[in-house]
Amino acid sequence: MSAPATEAVSPLEAPSGSPLHRIAWHWRHNPKRELWLAWWTIVAFYQLFFLVFFVLTRTQPPPSPGWDVARVVQWFHHHHYGLLIGFGIMFLITGMTAPSNALIAYSMRRMSVSPAFAYSYLVLYSLSAIPGMLLMCIALTVGAMRPDRDPELISWLYDFAFLSFVGTMGVFLIGSLVWMLAILLDRNRVLPKWFGYLNLCNALTEIVVSPAWIFKTGVFAWNGLIAWWIDMVVFGLYTGVFIFLLRRMIQREGFGTGPLPDLAPTKETDPSALAETAQ
């Protein structure tokens, strides 16, 4: 992945001017544009995620599992359009999680550890979006689209949605541990060690949330002080931190202007050809 420092070419200067002009310039010339594309996708995704879940659909902070069936149906009626539009947006944009996972996997490829870490993380988090988020979007959409559905079924969809969202723990648990291990073992100092430990905190929140499967009221319910509020603070902090650290990582990337890697080898750059000409 390292571009050989064979040429001492001075880096291109980014122009000043209107934002559109600058973006166009970066698109054409910035050697790190793929990384920045992925990073800005993460930023955009989490902002949209916050808007959809906290403002539009009001599914976060979650309503109570302790409500009776009538109250649950009332909640669906109240949020009818918010739910359908909000989750429609999620059905549009969930694919934006892919660049996020790609960038984090890339961070592990820059580390001195085996590529197995990057690939494990990529697989784990790629499959996490379905049980951990989309099932809730689907279940609540189905719950909201027929207001005259049997209330018991609406109540079941309500449970299905929130428990799948809050209770999908394993992928995030193991994924965080994989990233933590990669960071702690890394000798290239791609990411700071304290962030490795923060991954452990994030993994522990997945354990702390597990009582949500048992309790319908109290601090351990899916909307409880401990299982949701404190967990969400840790998760929010963790997300903000890793977005900031990934930005710093991209800024530190030492891309020069050397030959592009992984091009289909031509006659001249084929390794065996080079070896021959070297003799």
Binding site: W194, L198, L200, C201, L204, V208, V219, I230, V234, R252
Partner: protein, 208 residues
Amino acid sequence: MTDLAGAGPRPHRVDGKPDAKDGNKPAEFVPGQPDMWAFVLFEALVFTSYFVVYMIFRTRSPELYLQSQAHLSLRIGVFETLVLLVSSWSMARCVQAARQGAYRSALTNALLTMFLGVVFLVAKVFEWTRLIRMGFGFSSNEFFSHYFFLTGIHFLHLLIGFVAVGVIVYQLRSPARRSQELVETGATYWHTVDFLWIVIFALLYVVR
């Protein structure tokens, strides 16, 4: 933007080992990795929030909590506290021995720490089984939810502590490694686990 892994201004080699000419190392900011300190402080903060929640709910139904607390065995609690305190002492001796280069002694102390940790775990499991046989489980009542949650999450932190001690033992065994920084880092974590237990013990067992 070069030194961003948080290793601080110490003249260590990239792999964290102390300089070969160790005699005149400048005084360090904190023992072990500063990153570990950040972590234990953060964890302590999170635990504090759990304790605050517990206290809030305790003041709401004091009789329930008092009655439930009566079922806890103070003797076992004291025993567990003593075991962890001794383990912290052996851990401190391990760090000191490593600093002086007495690696055999350090290794022995590290293993002693691990052994005492196991004793604690066994006592904890025994205590839990006793309570469950008496009919008190995680979902029995509010107090026991908190009790099993707090002791459970502490148990988990102790298990992680075994990983930390394991890293220490691994470092001490071969002269090619023996990073003082890692030994101190592991010790920091272990002391924190001990400290958290003392607070839990005080809150759940003693304060009535």
